[in-house]
């Protein structure tokens, strides 16, 4: 369980950027020009791409939400006020309360989950002026609540451009068919970079390859420690039961049968304790969520990868137990034990 905890916690922290973008980049991709902006010809070319349903000129920022181990971030898209409704419709999202941000003003609409996680209401404020750790500068008023199956916020592009004194426009591209087909059609272009899920995962893996190696080393060290600890426990265990095993042996039960019996017994105990451990950790996380972090928390959930770790760890421990038993339970030794000479 320690290994599972270490790997899942480390992954949880390292994957916060992925989590911030994963849902969004399953719905659309973002084009980031290599120069200040894409010229009209290129834009027209993009619009004529049959895989492109719609293009929105955007600027972007991020907003902080609380996580269990560190802060999480979600994207804020600044776009033309005239395009906001269209964008929401295309994402099957809608404004459920409040109003859209006004042009050239510091308004913000956020999805329900962000509002809940931050524990704020419409009319409340976010930004660096409220919380030093925020990325959004100044103070933005929450003007509306969006119902959507992805997490994001929308602000006014005019205001962003005025405030940032920049025309560094990016383009949010929605697919007419699937996101995979869109990404494939956008792949070959040297004038701009595409921010899509596979690029994000690739850059994440490159960025955290050292961390993954570190996790591997920690896992190996933990496995070796576990094997040593298991060996010590086995020694104590065998010493406390050696007379019993000697008795089995003297009654004609083979050493092999005794070893198999002990391995079976230990496997059942291990299985029960692993199951109990997983259940207890789930309850513990649930407790954290319900009692300590009511205002928004992301559960550290163990992925299949981490659960699969149980198999090699369990197997290596069982194999080491088998060899410890094989070297400890020998016929000659058991005879000495039963005679009281050992």
């Amino acid at each position: 369980m320690t290994i599972l905890l270490v790997t899942s916690m480390t992954r949880y922290i390292s994957e916060s950027e992925l989590r911030a973008w994963e849902d969004s980049l399953n719905k659309f991709s973002i084009i980031e020009p290599n120069v200040s902006s894409i010229n009209n010809n290129e834009l027209a070319q993009l619009r004529s791409n049959e895989q492109v349903k719609e293009i929105f000129a955007i600027n972007e920022s991020i907003i902080k939400i609380p996580g269990i181990l560190n802060s999480e971030y979600r994207p804020i898209f600044a776009m033309q006020n005239s395009e906001m409704n269209k964008f929401l419709n295309l994402l099957d999202s809608k404004l459920v309360s409040g109003k859209l941000p006004k042009s050239n003003e510091r308004g913000l609409i956020l999805t329900e989950d962000i509002i809940n996680y931050k524990g704020i209401e419409i009319g409340g404020y976010v930004g660096k002026a409220i919380d030093e750790e925020e990325f959004l500068w100044g103070r933005f008023e929450i003007e509306g609540k969006i119902k959507s199956d992805i997490s994001f916020g929308i602000a006014s592009l005019d205001y962003f451009q005025r405030k940032l004194s920049s025309t560094n426009t990016k383009y949010l591209v929605l697919p007419s068919n699937s996101i995979e087909q869109l990404n494939k059609s956008l792949e070959k272009n040297t004038n701009y970079n595409i921010r899509n899920l596979s690029n994000l995962i690739q850059s994440h893996n490159e960025k955290y390859s050292n961390l993954n190696r570190l996790i591997l080393v920690i896992t190996i060290v933990l496995i070796i420690s576990l094997i040593i600890i298991t060996g010590l426990f086995m020694k104590i265990y065998l010493n406390s039961r050696n007379r019993e095993f000697a008795l089995y042996f003297s009654n004609g039960i083979s050493v092999k049968s005794i070893i198999l019996f002990v391995v079976k017994e230990i496997s059942i105990m291990a299985l029960l304790s692993i199951t109990l451990g997983i259940l207890l950790s789930k309850f513990f996380l649930l407790f954290l969520k319900e009692i300590l972090f009511q205002e928004g928390v992301f559960l550290v959930s163990l992925s299949l990868d981490e659960y699969i770790l149980i198999v090699p760890i369990g197997l290596s421990i069982l194999v080491s137990i088998y060899y410890i038993l094989k070297s400890s339970l020998k016929a000659e030794k058991l005879e000495k034990i039963i005679l009281g000479d050992y």
Partner: protein, 217 residues
Amino acid sequence: MNEIRLDNVTFTRSNIDSELIIFKNTSINISGNGKIIIILGPSGTGKSTLLNIFFGILETNKGNVIVNGHNLKTSSNKDLMNFRRDTISLMFQNFPLINWLSCEENIWYMNDNLSQEEIMESLDEIDLLSIKDYFPTNLSIGQRQRIALLQNILNNRGINLLDEPTSALGEKYKFKVMNLLKKYLKSKLLIIATHDKDLLKYADEVYEIQNKNVVLK
């Protein structure tokens, strides 16, 4: 017929700086069904050693030990295990029991063909019925010894070796237990090593260890 034969056996035990001869060129033949054999002698004369040699957990330096046709000297570990499982049992002087099995289960463990009624009846005969569900750690030493005796007499092996089977029992249970052994003897060959002369009246044959030899009295 059950039979134990020692052919010209010599057995020595290593001391710190010398070899102590326990048996020298000893030959005996103990055989029969439904018989109680007693090996008599004070402590330290080699009674337990002799039972351990019969059981095959002590190897002789010289000579052959043949039990029901098995030459223990030439048997492999596997043969010895099969031989013990099918032919012979030994109740050790410290009568080890399995601590996580109840009294009833400890008896059943040695012979799973026993019916519950048979176990209950035998427990009742030596006043252990009320503690049948107790674990060995909760028993007195005398109770443990009586359980170990039942384990050995109720198993389905032809030869039962009992090392000081009444050492922890008072007068009352000593004779009760011996009567029980007689009752369940059937076609077994029972060999008892003891220093207690009160048990002699139950014996069909008595052997003594004299001058590094086993002698029929």
